[in-house]
């Protein structure tokens, strides 16, 4: 495999071109599909395979910026971006990021670097596992409800009872939208007729605080926040989040480059893989239903949380190999998830083509 190695002049290391391209491709697919940057996959992988950590972060953010241009364009073409909500999310979260960064400074002074590291890592683990667990729970609750509704469809009495039961429970986005706190705003693309500006601001501000506090891109926080707190349809949340990632990563890439921590050649190679992957990932959102996206996303972030737990155990157990295992776990999960997304895309595409050729009107919209 040495013939595929190239010299990267800024990081001053030899690196495998195929690995860069494949990594870029996988993260491009997942980024376009889930609406996240994917830094939590790229950074540990580059680091495991020999990139110094600071170069891994800088190169990763530059590459993410490039692929998010492509993903945003595709989602824009599919009508998946709520531009107004995107702008709200960027402005509110930028303020939140600054507060999160200041909180880090304060905790660093109070508890020292090691204490801070531990606080951040465990907060990250808690957040990932909570988010993943909640999304998984929500998925199975909805699936159960759908199957029960199907079963009761023939029994009008049962249907009537379930309707009454459903009325008692008002969804969180609706409850939040019912809070009349001036000024009210609307987001047509997301189907939100009226919501308080302050509700939207607080949601993205808190997401921004977490983003600044945990030092992550924030896509995996904002995407579920849009779905579960604002009631934004999944594909719109994915597209809008990518627009957010695009704007914020432009600055990230530039500032890391000024600090000399971007390996441009590696970023360009990964970009080509990522752009190619983003085409598939973004297009797959057209064929896979919202709840399917949420299920895969939930599994992916639980695996990511698990990998951070393994990494956290490295020091107390004095087992350096756990660091590598945690990285390989994330890479393995990313490759597996990419394969599932591509498989779903191919299957759905052929089912659609088949139904179009068969002229079966009932099949429209069932793919």
């Amino acid at each position: 495999m040495d013939i595929f190695n190239i010299y990267l002049p800024i990081a001053e290391i030899q690196f495998n071109v195929i690995l860069l391209f494949v990594l870029g491709f996988c993260v491009g697919v997942l980024g376009g599909f889930f609406g996240v940057g994917g830094g939590w996959i790229v950074t540990p992988t580059l680091n495991i395979f020999g990139f110094p950590m600071d170069f891994a972060i800088g190169t990763d953010i530059t590459y993410i910026f490039g692929t998010s241009i492509v993903s945003t364009k595709i989602h824009s073409g599919l009508g998946n971006i709520d531009w107004k909500l995107g702008i709200f999310s960027i402005v509110s979260s930028v303020i939140g990021v600054e507060v999160g960064a200041q909180l880090i400074m304060y905790l660093g002074k109070t508890y020292g670097i090691e204490g801070l590291d531990s606080i951040v890592r465990w907060s990250f683990i808690t957040l990932l596992i909570f988010l993943g667990g909640f999304m998984l729970y929500d998925y199975f609750v909805v699936q159960k409800r759908l199957s029960e509704e199907e079963r009761k469809a023939d029994d009008p009495m049962q249907t009537h009872i379930s309707k009454i039961q459903k009325k008692k429970k008002v969804a969180l986005p609706i409850r939040l939208q019912n809070i009349r706190l001036f000024p009210m705003v609307s987001f047509k693309t997301s189907g939100i007729k009226s919501v308080s500006f302050w509700i939207v601001f607080v949601i993205f501000f808190v997401a921004g605080v977490l983003q600044g506090f945990l030092g992550v891109g924030g896509g995996f926080i904002k995407m579920p926040a849009m779905i579960y707190l604002l009631g934004v349809p999944t594909v719109i949340a994915v597209g809008t989040d990518l627009f957010n990632v695009l704007i914020t990563s432009i600055y990230g890439g530039f500032t890391y480059a000024i600090k000399g921590r971007v390996e441009l050649i590696a970023a360009v190679i990964m970009f080509f893989g990522g752009a190619f992957g983003a085409i598939f990932g973004s297009t797959a959102t057209k064929y896979v239903r919202g709840y399917g996206i949420r299920l895969l996303f939930a599994i992916m972030i639980i695996v990511a949380g698990g990998s951070v737990v393994i990494k956290q155990l490295e020091k107390p157990l004095h087992m350096p190999i756990l660091n590598d295992i945690s990285g390989y776990l994330v890479v393995g999960a990313a490759i597996l998830m990419t394969s599932i997304v591509l498989w779903k895309l191919v299957v759905s595409y052929y089912q659609l083509k088949k139904s179009e050729m068969g002229f079966d009107p009932d099949s429209i919209g069932k793919h």
Binding site: L78, G79, W83, I90, V97, I258, I279
Partner: protein
């Protein structure tokens, strides 16, 4: 046109917000930032990048960001030629 204008304004806002943050940041001394890379034995693009990196970090940042933007725009243009916008799908859940 409006979307472009908004995007540019947001970019500017991000720059301003993040630079304000730098005033409060307590980062490590700039010695690490002055890292230089070896240029001996390098040729072509590698030599150009290494020399720019060593001599002018701002230019290096502009080149890095610019290259990715240009590539992003080119790929996006090519993609838009091959993939037709398919309209709204599956917005309801």
């Amino acid at each position: 046109m409006f979307k472009k204008l908004i995007s540019r304004c947001l970019l500017l806002l991000c720059f301003l917000a993040a630079n304000t943050g730098n005033l409060f940041a307590e980062g490590k001394p700039a010695t690490e930032l002055n890292k230089t890379v070896k240029v001996e034995g390098l040729t072509g693009l590698n030599l150009f990048l290494a020399q720019t990196y060593n001599s002018n970090r701002l230019l290096f940042a502009v080149i890095s960001t610019g290259v990715i933007v240009i590539l992003g725009v080119i790929v996006t243009y090519i993609v838009s030629l091959f993939i037709k916008p398919a309209g709204h799908t599956h917005k309801e859940e």
